[in-house]
């Protein structure tokens, strides 16, 4: 039995993480603002490996999240607001991971170069926390307004091997 509510949350969370990892980084920071570089030449080689893995995994969970969303939708158990809350949480969690672990611990790259960094780091981590909090509130609110446990199990069958 697929738990459609849990799958809704998973779909949103994976898509949010994936979007933060692949699309926001590429389209906003590389191509838009041009704060990031393809390779800043100071990144340690071990960190490059982690970066490559995050890159690949980021794209995969973006696509995976969308297919899970489509799956919940075709089974008729989709609450868009609950999904949107989970997307926000996903974006925030990945941004936290990126800002704390990748930037500071592994030092893969920084948010911007040749500037005082701490206002950027503070904004980065602050907005990440904000996204997690708002996303959680939105998802919980939408969860309370669900039409009861009946919506959880409309008699579908679990074939979701890829979610295990």
């Amino acid at each position: 039995m697929p738990n459609l509510d849990r799958r809704t949350l998973a779909a949103g969370f994976l898509f949010g993480c994936g979007v933060a990892a692949s699309m926001i980084d590429l389209f906003v920071f590389h191509l838009g603002l041009q704060w990031h570089h393809f390779y800043d030449l100071s990144t340690p080689e071990v960190a490059l490996l982690a970066d490559a893995f995050f890159h690949a995994f980021g794209w995969f969970i973006t696509v995976w999240g969308l297919f899970l969303l489509a799956d919940v939708r075709r089974r008729g158990g989709l609450l868009w607001v609950r999904w949107a809350g989970a997307v926000l949480v996903g974006i925030g969690v990945f941004q936290l991971l990126d800002g704390v672990f990748l930037h500071k611990v592994l030092r893969i790259h920084q948010i911007r170069y040749d500037v005082e960094l701490w206002p950027y780091d503070l904004t980065w981590i602050g907005t990440a926390l904000l996204a997690v909090v708002i996303g959680t509130l939105v998802a919980r609110r939408a969860g309370r307004e669900r039409p009861g446990a009946a919506a959880d199990r409309p008699g579908g069958t679990d074939r979701g091997r890829a979610t295990g």
Binding site: F67, D71, T157, R159, R161, A162
Partner: protein, 285 residues
């Protein structure tokens, strides 16, 4: 003079092989025609795939690739990623099984079931052959050797096409495959392969093969990285589309109790066009 002759011979051989492959597809379609409605886009995919391989191997792009790293990389994207994807989507084994007379079709199925093919088409082996070949080519002296010898050049390019083809088929293949790996294995291998590919892209950005200028290396490395991404994301979509179709909720008589068939379905995301072939070749399941 003799060297030039070698390159000419290579070009002629490539054209002959590709034209034969195109003719073979048309002949197979005619042979299967009375029984089979073959989707037009699979035919298109086959010929477009051959065209991509041809563009990478002969003509202006191939000539430019002998002096420009960026042109070389454009050719390799076509030969090792785009052409394999198109050739896989063309479902050549399915078409062959429908076109061949029964005894030959049975021989082909027997061949596909041999241990050698089984090992070769396992996603882990196919990905290692594909990514390993690329790392060898660009981080050893092979890249320089390849431009000096037509034989090495031919072997490297044959490997790039075949390894790319086998890898793509092992991950998102639509042909009947008696040993298809579960979707979790294929997804994991695909993610690791994409990581290896993008890592190599960044590596080449600073450490290009000997004799490649910095600006050329950087343009080529970024082409490899972003161009590879486009094909890789397409592979991810196709892989998960297979999962999505295989796990569709079945309405009707045996909905809730159909667990065994669900397991089989999840492991074999065959799109609908090749389903009849599955029935015609009992050995594939």
């Amino acid at each position: 003079m003799a060297a030039d002759l070698g390159w000419e011979a290579f070009a002629i051989l490539v054209v002959l092989l590709l034209v034969s492959a195109a003719i073979a597809q048309v002949a197979a379609l005619r042979a299967a025609a009375p029984r089979v409605r073959w989707p037009w886009w699979r035919t298109l995919a086959w010929h477009a795939g051959l065209l991509c391989a041809g563009l990478a191997l002969v003509g202006p792009l191939a000539d430019a690739a002998r002096s420009s790293f960026t042109a070389h990389m454009a050719g390799h994207l076509l030969l090792g990623m785009v052409a394999p994807l198109l050739l896989v989507l063309a479902a050549p084994v399915t078409l062959a099984l429908r076109a061949l007379p029964a005894p030959s079709a049975r021989r082909l199925v027997r061949l596909l079931r041999t241990p050698f093919v089984r090992v070769l088409t396992h996603p882990v082996v196919a990905a290692a052959l594909n990514a390993g070949g690329l790392w060898l080519l660009y981080t050893t002296d092979l890249y320089r050797l390849m431009h000096g010898s037509v034989l090495v050049h031919a072997l490297v390019h044959a490997h790039v096409l075949l390894a790319g083809w086998v890898f793509t088929a092992s991950v998102v293949g639509v042909d009947p495959d008696p040993h298809r790996s579960p979707v979790t294995v294929r997804a994991t291998v695909l993610v690791l392969f994409v990581a290896a590919h993008s890592l190599l892209g960044k590596w080449l950005y600073v450490r290009p093969p000997a004799g490649v200028e910095q600006a050329d290396a950087r343009a080529g490395a970024q082409l490899m990285y972003y161009g590879g991404d486009v094909v890789d994301v397409t592979l991810m979509v196709l892989l998960l589309l297979g999962w999505y179709r295989a796990t569709r909720p079945r309405t009707g008589l045996r909905t809730a109790s159909a667990a065994p068939s669900a397991t089989r379905g999840a492991a074999s995301p065959l799109p609908r066009p090749s389903a009849p072939a599955r029935r015609r070749t009992p050995t594939t399941r």
